[in-house]
Each structure stands twice: as structure tokens, then as C-alpha cells.
């Protein structure tokens, strides 16, 4: 059975297609289409043109799915769309013109999806996971496994941009104000301080885009097997993104659709790394979509999907859950990152972990 999960974020539409067999589930396609929603906002509402663009891109993804013989497709949206003033209009337009029902997922669920998709990092010592998004921030202590343990902040990079940045890219003073604000919010939320976490797992498309810039900046060879960030080099990159002559070019080269997000993301990540006293940073390819896929496959999340076979919406598309957990097709870059925790912790699963899905997406 082929299952697709599409995610609407503040800067892109992304798609994964997985082949779910009896023994394993393997991701066979990952795609991404730029769609910078902030450009299509009129106040707090998405303009008609924005809705039209969203629908057109979704139709493209639907065609792609149909061409691949996908059986069912889930469309999810996180805070980026959830907090838009006319989200009901968007939902109706998408349903009417594409046949997809948008499954809005809340902050805790988003964090939990991230967690599930990256659970294999839990065996790393003192690991914390962070998903820095346009409209929310999710932070999870990977040693805690319940949904209620996930921390979700109701502001994101776009909010930081709107609050502190006058033009497009922030300057040093604006960055300072942003850091102060972040520190205050993190303190208020009781986020632990230094030496609590030694490893950070960064997930999400903005984190990935930032890594691409980091790799360019630090001359990381393309053949590098796993994505890691050195904190000292990262600090230099943040400085470059705040004051460098070529900062716009760097962003344009790697992620133009994230022009509002990348520098605030770099500032936020640096603030968090510093706060936690992080020594190692790993960037993960798996995030909300992979986690959501896992959860619906195992009946832990009840979404509404589009059934390509019948052309109708469905709530129960699976006869039975697959026997083995979702496993991502390993690429050269991610193989090592997946193997490290396994060798440290082995395959055993404790009683406490048993309530959770197994080694993730």
C-alpha cells in the first residue's frame, strides 16, 4: 500500500510517499515545492491568490501521487496555517478544489510527530530535539516519551521577524533584542539551563536549510555521510548572516523561500545551543510528516485521508497495521546518524518505551 503525507508549512509544501508492506515501510519519494505564504498574506488572512497558489501546488502533488499509484494521501498543516485568520476558508477551498481534507495538528502533536520520527536519537546522551518553525517552536527532551512532555511555544520565526525586524534581514541590534525576548520566553516556560543537554537534534525544513548554508559556509564536503554542526563554526555563520556582505546571496542560493526565517532561525538555534550547553548538533531529515505517517499507520493518530482508489475521503483506510515500524530508505548522508544510537543502546525496548512506536521513520 502506498501512502502519501503532504505538509503545508509557512514556506513550502512537502510530500513523502511511503510503501507500507507487511514487514516494513519504506519512504520512496520526498518532494518539496516552495510556497512562501507570508508573501500572499493580507493582514492575517491568506489572499485569494495565496489560496489559488496553494491549491495549484496541491493539485500538482496530487497528480504526482496519482502517477505513482498512491492509495491514500493525508494532508496536514501545522501552526503556519492553523493561525491564519481565514483558515476555514482555506480548508473549504482546498477540499472543494483538490478533494483533500486538511488535518490541522496542534503544537503538542507536531512535537510528538517530530519525536516519533527521531526516536532513534533518544539513545544519544542528554539529547534534545528542536523544530524551529515559522509559527511555532517545538522542543522535546528525548528521554521523555509522552506527548504531554513535549514543549511547544506559540510563536515562531515569522513572529520574531514581525516583532523585531524592520526590513527583510535583521541587523545586530535587532538580533540582540530577539535574543533577549527568546531568553525571557524560555525562562518563563521553565526551559532548563546549561549542561542539561549535550546533544541537539535539529529537525524541520528550516533547520535543514540552515544546515545547507552551514555546509556551504564551512566547506563541508558533499560526500559527508551525516549532517552535524560544530558550534564554534555555527557561531561564525550567525555573525556572517548578521553582518556579512554576501549574506543575501547565501540565503538566495540555498533557500530563497525562507528569506524571512533563516536569520531568526540561526539566532534562535544559537540561543538554544548556548542555553543548553550543547556540544554536538545533529540535523535530521525526518520530521513531522514521517512521524505523522508512523502514527496513522499504527492507529495512534486519526486523520482524514483522500483515498485515491475511490476518490473519496476516508477515516479508516487501513485494514491492519503493519507489523514492523516505519523505516526510511537510508541515504548515504543519514545512514550513520541512524546507526549511531542503535550501536549505543542496542535494539532492546523497555516497558516504558513499549507504549511508543519503535525506532522511527
Amino acid at each position: 500500500m502506498k501512502i502519501a503525507v503532504m505538509d503545508i508549512s509557512s514556506s513550502a509544501l512537502s510530500l513523502i510517499v511511503a510503501e507500507a508492506g507487511k514487514r516494513k515501510t519504506e519512504i520512496c519519494l520526498k518532494e518539496r515545492v516552495s510556497l512562501s505564504l507570508p508573501h500572499y498574506l493580507e493582514g492575517s488572512r491568506l489572499s485569494e491568490r495565496g489560496i489559488e497558489k496553494l491549491v495549484a501546488e496541491l493539485c500538482g502533488l496530487r497528480e504526482r501521487c496519482a502517477g505513482m499509484g498512491v492509495d491514500v494521501g493525508y494532508l496536514i498543516a501545522t501552526a503556519a496555517l492553523r493561525n491564519i485568520g481565514n483558515s476555514d476558508d482555506i480548508r473549504n477551498a482546498v477540499l472543494e478544489r483538490t478533494g483533500f481534507e486538511i488535518n490541522f495538528i496542534d503544537g503538542k502533536t507536531e512535537a510528538y510527530c517530530d519525536f516519533v520520527a527521531n526516536r532513534y536519537y533518544a539513545s544519544l546522551p542528554q539529547a534534545v530535539l528542536m523544530d524551529i518553525g515559522g509559527k511555532s517552536l517545538e522542543i522535546c527532551d528525548l528521554s521523555k516519551k509522552r506527548k504531554n512532555d513535549m514543549l511547544c511555544f506559540d510563536f515562531g520565526l515569522l513572529d520574531l521577524h514581525r516583532k523585531f525586524v524592520r526590513k527583510i534581514l535583521p541587523g545586530e541590534e535587532e538580533a540582540r533584542d530577539m535574543r533577549k525576548f527568546l531568553k525571557k520566553r524560555f525562562d518563563e516556560a521553565g526551559l532548563p539551563g546549561e549542561d542539561v543537554f549535550s546533544t541537539a537534534v535539529v529537525v524541520g525544513a528550516t533547520g535543514m536549510a540552515l544546515y545547507e548554508i552551514y555546509a556551504d559556509f564551512a566547506d563541508v564536503p558533499e560526500e559527508e555521510d551525516h549532517r552535524t554542526i560544530e558550534y564554534d563554526v555555527f557561531k561564525k555563520l550567525v555573525k556572517r548572516l548578521l553582518t556579512g556582505d554576501d549574506r543575501s546571496r547565501l540565503i538566495l542560493k540555498h533557500a530563497p523561500e525562507k528569506l524571512y526565517l533563516l536569520v531568526p532561525a540561526a539566532i534562535t538555534m544559537k540561543t538554544l545551543f548556548k542555553r543548553f550547553g550543547v556540544e554536538h548538533v545533529v540535523v535530521s531529515e525526518s520530521g513531522v510528516k514521517e512521524g505523522y505517517l508512523y502514527l496513522v499507520l499504527h492507529g495512534k493518530e486519526q486523520g482524514i485521508c483522500y483515498d485515491f482508489r475511490s476518490g473519496a475521503l476516508s477515516e479508516h483506510p487501513f485494514d491492519s497495521a503493519p507489523e514492523k515500524p516505519v523505516r526510511r530508505r537510508r541515504t548515504r548522508r543519514t545512514a550513520v546518524a541512524q546507526q549511531e544510537p542503535a550501536s549505543a543502546e542496542g535494539e532492546k525496548e523497555t516497558a516504558a518505551e513499549a507504549e511508543l512506536p519503535g525506532n522511527g521513520a
Binding site: S34, L35, S36, H39, Y40, R49, E52, K53, A56, K167, I168, L169, D245, D246, S248, R249, I251, L252, K253, P256, E257, K258, L259
Partner: protein, 355 residues
């Protein structure tokens, strides 16, 4: 309100029609507006040059080819290189502010849009307009200048066909398009070319030879091949651009067309000639379609400025004029889909794509 207009990159038909449309729509719809023409594309902005455009400057230019503002190529890669104590990007931003501009219209192709996105990131209010004969700008169904170039290329192939038929020759007509083959595909289909070779579909010379031989056997004396300048044989696909350029330079060529012609002549024994259309495709008066399209795009862009919607580019979607965020299209190209409708239609009609 102070508005600047510049045209950047290679010229094409329809630029003046867009300038006219922007100028007229703005003067008609926005009060107390001053329009500044920036000469020679981004070059003028780097040097801080501009002059006032009056309403009379927009009259009588609808049908003119080229651009009344002048244009130049300013490679994107050079924009952030430090020279004489600053980058070109910094100079452009500084001059944008010195000129007191509230909005800058940039008429250009994919590279121009990329630089426009860069300016936008640095806080300039930019609105792009999609100009190119290659039709390869992402996010728009069609660009202005493309249809006029299709007309020229189609007519040229028609004319070449009569010579080819008279002499029983194989004719390779090289059409512009280095990365995308839209122009070759449209002109090739419109002129009934027997083979169409595109950058997106690498060819095997043997298949073209077979086509020529089969046509000879069937008594069809000539073969017309529309070939994009960026078309390449399968054997060169894995070569890096530099290596490919080196191989071609070694043969004294800049494209692969002449080499293919030699192969065809050697292997089929049929007299084979090459005709490179070159700059003929860029110049001259815009066709009626482009005049209308340019006018619609220019008028729409003027309204975007009035609304204060910046960081976007005008686009065509279906039959409607609309806009895309520069951030969504910068650095992206629109290529011919080898499995798309037009290619499939060509194959259904027996056109050889060389693959």
C-alpha cells in the same frame, strides 16, 4: 511616489510595450508620481544613473523592438563580490535610496529575477516582469518576447524548408535556448520539423541518421531538424559544463550542432547544412500577442505597485495575469517536460526527438 524602471539581460521583443504600459497605467492611476528610467539595466543602478521619463516618452514605442532604456548583462555571481570597497549589491541598494525610489520595476529573465530577489532581501521594493525568448521563468506559463521569437524561428524554418526541399538536403536549424528548449519545441512543431532536439531530451546521433535514411528511402528528399543550441548527445550528458565546452572549443565550435551535421553527412551521405538563427530571434517588432501580453503584464505590475505589493513578479497562469513571490521563483527554471503534452503530441505525429 517615485518609481524606477530598468531592463536587464538580453533584449527581446515586448520590452518597450511593457515600459509603455507601466508608464501609462502609473501616470493614469497614481497621483504625484515620478517615473525614472535607469539606463543599461543593473549597470545604471550600480552607477547611480537615472533620468526622468515623461508621459510623451511612452508614446509611439509599443511596436518597437529592443529597449528604449538600454540593457546590459550583470552576472548574478558578481553581485556580492567586493570591489573598490563595496559590492555591486551594496551600490545598487545605496543608489536605490539616493534616488529616493519607492519601487523598482525590473524587466528581465531568470538571472534578473534572482538579482531582484537579492535587492528585495536588502529592503528594496521590487516588482519583476518576466522577459525572455526562452520562456524558462519558473511560475509563469509564458513570458513576453517568447511568442515573437517563435514567430521568427517558425518563419525562418519555413523559408529554410524550401531550400532544403529544392536541393534534397538535411538542414539543421539552430534555435536559441541553452538550458530550456521551449523555443525550439514550439517553433519546431509550428513549422513541421521532422526532428526536434532539446536540452531536456539528450539525443543519439544514430537515431537522427536513421530518420534521415528512412526519409530518403521513402523519397522524401529533405529532412528538417530544429535543434536547440543547448541540445546535447547522450554521450555528453555526464560531462561537466566546462569539459563539454572544452571538447567543443577543441572542435572550433560553441554548440554541438555543426558536429552533428558532420556526423549526419558522413553516415547518411546526404548533403547536410547548418543554419544558426542567432540574434534574429531577439530583435524586431513584437507580434500582436506579445504586444497585448506585455501591455497586460505591465498594467498589472503597475497596479501591484499601487497596492504596495512588492517582492513579487507578474506572471501568467491559465489566461489570467497574476503574481508570484520572487522568493518562490528566484534561481529556478521552467524546463520542457519530456513526458509533457507537447512532446507527447509531437511523438504522436511522428516527430523524432532523437532519444
Amino acid at each position: 511616489m517615485k518609481i524606477g524602471i530598468l531592463t536587464s539581460g538580453g533584449d527581446c521583443s515586448g520590452l518597450n510595450a511593457v515600459i509603455r504600459s507601466i508608464g501609462l497605467c502609473i501616470t493614469e492611476n497614481i497621483r504625484n508620481v515620478e517615473i525614472r528610467g535607469i539606463p543599461d539595466g543593473y549597470g545604471g543602478l550600480i552607477r547611480g544613473e537615472s533620468y526622468r521619463l515623461q508621459r510623451k516618452d511612452f508614446e509611439g514605442i509599443l511596436h518597437l523592438g529592443g529597449t528604449i532604456l538600454g540593457t546590459s548583462r550583470q552576472p548574478f555571481k558578481q553581485m556580492t563580490v567586493v570591489q573598490d570597497g563595496g559590492t555591486r549589491l551594496e551600490k545598487m541598494c545605496e543608489n536605490y535610496r539616493k534616488m529616493g525610489l519607492d519601487c523598482l520595476f525590473t524587466l528581465g529573465g531568470a538571472g534578473t529575477h534572482k538579482t531582484a530577489a537579492l535587492l528585495c532581501m536588502e529592503g528594496c521594493h521590487v516588482i519583476g516582469l518576466p522577459k525572455t525568448i526562452d520562456n524558462d521563468i519558473y511560475g509563469t506559463d509564458v513570458t513576453f518576447g517568447f511568442q515573437s521569437a517563435v514567430e521568427v524561428a517558425t518563419e525562418s524554418i519555413d523559408r529554410i524548408r524550401t531550400t532544403a526541399e529544392s536541393h534534397g538536403r538535411t538542414m539543421l536549424v539552430e534555435v536559441m535556448g541553452n538550458k530550456a528548449g521551449w523555443l525550439t519545441l514550439h517553433a519546431g512543431l509550428a513549422s513541421g520539423a521532422d526532428a526536434i532536439l532539446l536540452p531536456e531530451i539528450p539525443y543519439e546521433p544514430e537515431k537522427i541518421c536513421r530518420l534521415v535514411e528512412q526519409r530518403q528511402k521513402k523519397g522524401r528528399g529533405c529532412t528538417i531538424i530544429a535543434i536547440a543550441e543547448g541540445a546535447l548527445p547522450k554521450s555528453e550528458v555526464k560531462l561537466k559544463k566546462e569539459a563539454r565546452t572544452f571538447v567543443r572549443a577543441d572542435r572550433g565550435e560553441s554548440t554541438g550542432t555543426q558536429h552533428l551535421a558532420e556526423i549526419l553527412q558522413q553516415q547518411t551521405g546526404v548533403e547536410t547544412r547548418v543554419s544558426v538563427l542567432g540574434y534574429l530571434q531577439r530583435g524586431g517588432t513584437p507580434c500582436a500577442y506579445d504586444r497585448l501580453l506585455s501591455s497586460r503584464l505591465g498594467g498589472y505590475a503597475a497596479m501591484l505597485a499601487k497596492e504596495g505589493r512588492f517582492g513579487v513578479t507578474a506572471a501568467v497562469s491559465g489566461n489570467r495575469i497574476t503574481f508570484n513571490a520572487l522568493a518562490d521563483i528566484a534561481g529556478k527554471y521552467k524546463y520542457v517536460d519530456p513526458r509533457g503534452d507537447l512532446v507527447r503530441f509531437g511523438r504522436d505525429m511522428g516527430v523524432c526527438f532523437g532519444d
